[in-house]
């Protein structure tokens, strides 16, 4: 199937701004799904609210567009009740880590087999450019006219500490890498997190004089380096890219399956 076959083409052109990185995330994700040859009927995409969250309307999977910050909680219900489904949960940075932070760490803790994708544009895009917990200090935003004093989370560290068993980071500039990481994340049995830096030229870019979409992407090339590279080692200001964590731990639904087995035996006798 072509990538377009995974789209609900009737809603195109999509609602994202010209150059919005979220479109590239969609692009990379569909290619991952296509390359894995997954059955559309087996995929549920759950999203929250935000520009990013609109992604679920564009994919021809079962799609569940929910409440701001709650995508992973809904997804947990879907997955737990029908573990054979593949759960893709793309989220905005605010969605995933401001209002949604608790569900994020708890899904990670449980190691439930869901693929969480943080579409990190470091801003609340949909509401017009307020800072997010991933903006970091010194950023201009509509609610930070004097620049931000809020530290940012490091998604990789937080996900890892919370218990995620696959943790990776890339950017929209690194579209091929994104597809390959997403494929691994989807195949990984357990809670996987892929953070993708995704430009919001309309709000983050404009306020912070980062130029147009292409310039913002170019910047991603410059401020990142692959995990394990010498560049990264030598320059701690760089963001690492690639796989940070890949570990095996019991997956939640599988473990619950054992409880069911045990209980059914108990009930039977």
């Amino acid at each position: 199937m072509a990538v377009q076959d995974y789209l609900r083409q009737r809603f195109f052109p999509h609602m994202w701004c010209p150059g919005c990185g979220h479109g590239t995330v969609l692009n990379s994700l569909l290619r991952a799904v296509e390359e894995l040859g997954l059955d559309k009927n087996n995929i549920v995409m759950t999203s929250g609210i935000g520009c990013s969250a609109r992604i679920s309307g564009y994919v021809d999977f079962h799609s569940l567009h929910t409440l701001h910050g709650r995508a992973l909680a809904f997804a947990t219900g879907v997955k737990m009740s029908k573990p054979e489904l593949t759960l893709l949960v793309p989220m905005g940075d605010g969605d995933a880590l401001a209002i949604g932070g608790n569900h994020f760490i708890h899904a990670a803790r449980r190691n439930i087999d869901i693929t969480a994708i943080v579409m990190n544009n470091r801003i609340y895009g949909m509401t017009g450019g307020q800072f997010s917990p991933l903006s970091g200090c010194g950023i201009k935003a509509t609610t930070a006219p004097y620049t931000t004093i809020d530290n940012n989370f490091d998604v990789v560290e937080l996900a890892t500490a919370a218990g995620a068993t696959f943790v990776a980071r890339t950017t929209t500039y690194h579209a091929k890498e994104a597809t390959s990481l997403l494929k691994k994340a989807i195949l990984h049995k357990g809670f996987s997190v892929v953070e993708i830096l995704s430009q919001c030229p309309t709000h983050f870019g404009r306020k912070n004089k980062e130029g147009d979409a292409a310039q913002m992407m170019e910047n991603y090339k410059n401020i990142t380096a692959p995990v394990g590279s010498k560049a990264l080692e030598e320059n701690p200001a760089l963001w690492g890219r690639g796989i940070f964590v890949e570990r095996e731990r019991p997956e939640y639904c599988t473990e619950y399956g054992k409880i069911v087995e045990l209980a059914m035996k108990g009930a039977a006798k």
């Binding site: 809603f11 559309k40 009927n41 087996n42 549920v44 759950t46 679920s56 309307g57 021809d60 999977f61 079962h62 799609s63 569940l64 567009h65 929910t66 409440l67 709650r70 909680a73 809904f74 997804a75 947990t76 219900g77 879907v78 997955k79 737990m80 009740s81 029908k82 054979e84 489904l85 608790n102 569900h103 708890h106 619950y256 409880i259 069911v260 045990l262 209980a263 059914m264 108990g266 009930a267």
Partner: protein, 382 residues
Amino acid sequence: MERTTKFVQGNEACVEGALYAGVNFYAGYPITPSTEIAEALSGRLPEIGGKFIQMEDEIASMCAIIGASLTGHKVLTATSGPGFSLKQEAIGYACMAEIPCVIANVQRGGPSTGNPTHVGQGDINQARWGTHGDHAIIALTASNHQDVFAMTVEAFNMAETYRTPVVLLFDEVVGHMREKLVIPAPGEVEIVDRLRTSVPKGVDYRPYLPREDGRLPMSDFGDKHRYNVTGLYHDMWGFPSANPKIVNELLRHLVDKIENNVDSITRYKEYFLDDAQYILISYGSSARSAIHMAKNRREKNEKIGVLELQSIWPFPSELVREKCANAKAVVVVEMNMGQVLAQVKAAVDEPNKVFLANRIDGKLITPTDIKGLLRVIQGRGI
């Protein structure tokens, strides 16, 4: 299989009702006085291949049951006031996206943390109006364990029938008290199962287009129809729309499917109403006191009757109006400041003959309390 008799808490009666109705997914977060529901289901659900999950909070619990409902499960969550407040946003989502689910609220003393282990009936209006925006909701209640069982079964049935969240408004006294429960034999009580679409693969399935009979067949996530679910205003395929005509129809539909079916949804019991000059209207544990008092007074030949409401929302105004038409006075017995009272006043022809017998101090209202108030209403003083 046979009927079985058990001696259980009201919360356990709710669990038995849910299991009888086919619940196979529960998500929740503990809170007094509802916790026994979760505790019992954590043991029982896996025995029947169902799933129990303790989530990180009430918000997540509500979201999780919605997600599980979409895969075709019968879902339940249970909570009490503070948790019920937290669930409101997601309850509104379930209304909007028309997702069958059951929420038990075992009421305690409120507002705020109030008193977790004492009784209250203060969440009646919250059940109706707790989430933002116009919507409709079904809320059932019960005063004894047999009815807790029955209303729990009804709640699941109505959730499926109307594709909507249904609230079970129990209270601490009923939830914690133990008494007899006779569990009907399988098949004895009707169970409404999920209506699934018969639209074949490849044919356009419209999840939000009501059939001739008003019902909206569903398709499980994972099954052949891929559609969209959203809390935004949406068209019949579930995709966002801001078209005023579509919005208007959607919102009307959400309310009408419930309000227009008030007759089918209404559940009540009556005691000695035929010739009653004084009618006590009550529900939940306070109805027990009302009934107790009425039985006592009847023995003394006083013409007192009780109308026990088992469905609160949509409010059975017509029923109340009819039953109260000939009463000298109507006394609403409840443990709040007159939430059902206001509904009764709006329903009857002579609002001035409606009075309130209430108690708000965390103690179950007693037959003596009611008797005292009735004397005053009758002009006989204390």
